[in-house]
Amino acid sequence: MTTALRTHELGKRYGRSRHWALKDCTLDLPTGRVVGLVGPNGAGKSTLLGLAAGMLVPTAGRIDVLGEAPSSGSEHLARVGFVSQDAPTYRGMSVADHLRLGAHLNPRWDDALVRERIDRLGIDPSRRTGSLSGGQRAQIALTMAIGKRPELLILDEPVAALDPLARREFMQDLMEAVAEQDLTVVLSSHLVSDLERACDYLVVLVDSQVRVAGDLEELLASHRRMTGARRPSDVGPAGHHVVTASHTDRQSTFVVRTGGPLVDPSWDATPLGLEDLVLAYLRGDASYERPRPTVEVVR
């Protein structure tokens, strides 16, 4: 199995700041996936993606992207597409100029693909990107990133600034590109709903640290909300890893990562949706379990 992004105790501090924007981050993201990076604002998502895109230099630890140090040369740059937060474009330059820029600066540029996408988006290539809507600019940025035919596409909050329709169109385009090309995608969002359908791998980042990471189906299958009569202590159901615990005078509710079959009949176990799963990790202070190297690649 190949690795799209591998980090080892990766840490980042900006300038002389004592605050770690990202701390002790160890991840192993497989290729062929759409990886969703979720967390509240300021959790370190942009820092992690910036490090992966080679825009930032690590303060501690190691990071490998497609088996090499980030942006370690033009050939490696050609394999990784990156769209930064707010999808910056040259506002004074036309769409056609941007495409020309892409064609000039990328050896693997797929002009036919790009023209077709722009056509379908219905954007007049002679327009300056400054006069386009936020959604259209995001589409241009995505088109440029896809047009260079990368193996890995890194998108930092690509839809955060878009209205619902533009969001939908962006995700449609992205999913089509994933279907068409042999593409691994890592995208971040502070909204779980953006990622729900698109992602098949999840990383939850809270307070500069990774809380949980793994195959989405596996995570959904292994997490349960368990309700039962009030228990005397915070000790959850035996054999299960407690993510969150809450108690009323009568009832105890645990969100657990199951360690085995749920047999205790005194507990009522229900599955969790993605949103609830993520929320549990955002709220809980459970320590992060290192990724286990048993992830099946679907492709």
Partner: protein, 130 residues
Amino acid sequence: MIEFHLDSRSGVSAYLQLVQQVRRALRLGLLSEGDQLPTVKDVARQLAINPNTVLKAYRDLERDGLVAPRPGVGTFVTRTLTDNTLAAHGPLRTDLQRWLSKARRAGLDDESIEALFMTTFRAASEEDIA
């Protein structure tokens, strides 16, 4: 050709919804042998959904012998579900109606009936899987 829809509030995973929609279409006769399913790319685009999810749904249907991929062309229906089950629908429905009136007589309201049905159904499915 059929079109898929996803209900994000149903709590049913997207992949399962796709499988169910194909099965329903087969059962209702909307799809018959030789019909082509939408390509993975088209479904991914239309629903803004991960293509792996579509692939997984199609592979599930394939394992059940309902569809078969033709490399480079697409996925095609190989068997329909119309014949045998439709006949069984009537008696089952009568049974269920009988059970429902029994439940009402026992004092259960709609909500309790639904909760009872769902927990039993879920427990049964989990047992089946296990």
